[in-house]
């Protein structure tokens, strides 16, 4: 590769990064700007920071508990999706049975249902069984759309683990359940991590189900954001503060399992 070519590629990559990150950087800056700075007619890059927005929105407006609500919903639905979905994915990867592909496709179709129309019936049904307003309602709803993702992705990961590993585990004294839980799952850990991140992101950021199905006191951070758009002006500083705080856990979570994310998505890196 020529030197010029290399430089050009590096420049292109840099450009991509700038495009990807600038809006986020801007929102971080905005979270420290006074309203007048935020709305100034020239972009303000240097300014005297104000730290008022964070306490205003998280303490005065009591958004802090929403972080916990979001964490509860996102982590529960992620765990639930994995617990329910991974075994199914394993069966899809290992067993052959009549109509398997059709059943698999059926799993995927649930992702195609338009949430905007499903959410009202879901609300009514959940209300009928007394689930509405509890975090459980939105956890179940998120599980429903994450489940297909889990089954889809984990099937690939399990398929890439040689069948003999299952059998070795059986010969080593496990039952099939034990072989799955003690041997297969640890081997598929990178895949689980990758899948978990995507589930977590989707659930953490989801708006509609979380808004409709959950009570005021257990609403998530995402649901809280539009409340900052008022007829008296969008509270840009506070919106930015919430957006920054809302992305923090995900960025941290992603960093933590970064190593697994790509490896996990490589559908074949677990062969050892």
């Amino acid at each position: 590769m020529s030197r010029a070519w290399r430089a050009a590629m590096l420049a292109a990559l840099l450009a991509v990064l700038v495009v990807a990150l600038t809006p986020y950087v801007w929102i971080i800056l905005t979270s420290f700007k006074s309203r007048l700075d935020a709305l100034a007619d020239h972009p303000v890059w240097l300014f005297t920071p104000t730290f008022a927005h964070y306490p205003k929105v998280f303490i005065d407006k009591q958004y802090l508990p929403l972080v916990w609500n979001s964490a509860l919903v996102a982590s529960s639905s992620t765990v639930l999706s994995l617990v329910v979905g991974a075994p199914a994915a394993y069966v899809f990867a290992r067993n052959d049975f009549a109509g398997k592909e059709d059943l698999f496709f059926f799993f995927l179709t649930t992702r195609m249902a338009p949430p905007i129309s499903v959410v009202v019936p879901m609300f009514l049904l959940f209300t009928a069984v007394g689930l509405t307003d509890r975090p459980a309602a939105v956890i179940i709803a998120h599980t429903s759309f994450n489940l297909s993702l889990v089954v889809w992705m984990m099937r690939g990961f399990f398929a890439d683990i040689p069948r003999e590993i299952d059998e070795a585990a059986l010969m080593d004294g496990h039952g099939r359940l034990g072989a799955f839980a003690r041997v297969l799952l640890p081997l598929a850990a990178p895949g689980l991590a990758a899948t978990a991140i995507l589930c977590f992101i989707l659930s953490w950021n989801e708006f509609l189900y979380a808004f409709i199905l959950v009570a005021f006191e257990s609403r998530t951070l995402t649901v809280g954001i539009p409340g900052l758009v008022t007829p008296h002006g969008t509270l840009w500083g506070q919106v930015a503060a919430v957006a920054v705080v809302a992305t923090l856990p995900i960025v941290i979570f992603t960093m933590a399992v970064q190593r697994h994310l790509v490896r996990g998505l490589t559908f074949g890196a677990v062969k050892g």
């Binding site: 990150l21 049904l125 039952g175 509609l208 790509v262 490589t266």
Partner: protein
């Protein structure tokens, strides 16, 4: 057959497949037969939360007949198709290019990737607001630089200019979701075996030929996967476009999801809203089924060797 304690274990082992698939199946069935079935039933009723007397009486295909002649629905429908095709193909091409860039730019791959993933990690609601802030016509940062660069007239603003709005929401979707495409394709690239590439080089292929004849075909299942996932999600795009434009100006950005939202949450005309949703579901389902049969699963079959014959031929 044998004594107590082991019996449960034996049962679990024998019925493992069923026990493993059943929970997922039941959860999805509840979701499908429950809310989704309810929605489908609603599509055949006059259920409305707004109008008195519309308590969910059966009306047959009335909603669907109305749908057939609803030009707003069909405008939205084709607008959505255009949106999906444009956004997903740009995301794919750009994503592929960036994935290759990162793949070949060996050092700091991880750091670069994490940084790149940021747009995807933001809540779509936040994405909508962030871009509203950036594109705001008076104090928007991007507006300012676009004008300074002469790309935007001082009498223009991106989200107010009917011809610009639709490309703008596509661009924002591209901004938000290209990282996902990069992530999956990069993972795919990194999992490819070396041998075919070496063989192709030995056969005298140049870089472009290697890409066309080796990389692309090998990546086909992953490409299919990412295109399918993105298409399904793009079809459902709602949050950020709703916040950015509300479907306007006029109906220039009224995607199906926004149209359905109005039916359901403004008009509370749930019967008709359900008919719209059902239609959308049907179309997405058919498209995906065709796609699935045509590309994805065929590849899956080839790459995963059929297990049983292997045992026989040992």
């Amino acid at each position: 057959m044998r004594a107590g304690g082991a019996r449960l274990g034996a049962f679990v082992d024998r019925q493992l497949s069923v026990l493993f698939v059943a929970p997922a199946f039941v959860v999805l069935l509840i979701i499908l037969v429950g809310p989704f079935g309810y929605m489908m039933w609603t599509a055949f009723t006059d259920l409305s939360f707004a109008l008195p007397g519309h308590d969910g009486n059966f009306v047959g295909f009335a909603n669907f007949r109305r749908l057939m002649h609803d030009s707003f629905f069909w405008d939205s429908f084709f607008l959505t198709l255009r949106f999906v095709v444009a956004a997903v193909s740009i995301e794919f091409l750009l994503g592929f290019a960036v994935a290759l860039l990162i793949y070949h730019q060996v050092t700091r791959r991880r750091l670069v990737l994490t940084a790149l993933l940021v747009p995807m990690m933001l809540a779509p609601v936040a994405v909508g607001l962030i871009w509203k802030l950036l594109l705001q016509g008076d104090f928007g940062m991007l507006t300012y630089y676009l004008r300074a660069a002469g790309l935007l007239g001082t009498d223009q603003a991106v989200l107010s200019d009917a011809p610009l709005v639709f490309p703008a929401i596509i661009a924002i979707d591209v901004w938000e979701w290209t990282p996902f495409v990069v992530l999956v394709l990069l993972a795919g690239l990194m999992s490819l075996p070396r041998e075919p590439f070496e063989a192709a080089v030995m056969d005298g292929a140049n870089r472009y030929q290697v890409f066309r004849d080796v990389t692309l075909p090998l990546l086909r299942p992953i490409v299919a996967l990412v295109v399918l996932l993105r298409s399904i999600d793009a079809f459902k795009e709602f949050d950020k476009v709703f916040i950015l434009t509300g479907g306007g100006p006029g109906t220039t950005t009224e995607l199906l999801s926004i149209y359905t939202y109005r039916m359901n949450f403004k008009d509370w005309d749930l019967g008709y809203g359900a008919a719209c949703a059902f239609m959308v579901y049907l179309v997405v389902l058919i498209l995906c089924a065709v796609f699935h049969k045509a590309v994805f699963w065929q590849e899956g079959r080839v790459s995963a060797p059929a297990p049983e014959p292997v045992a026989v031929t040992a």
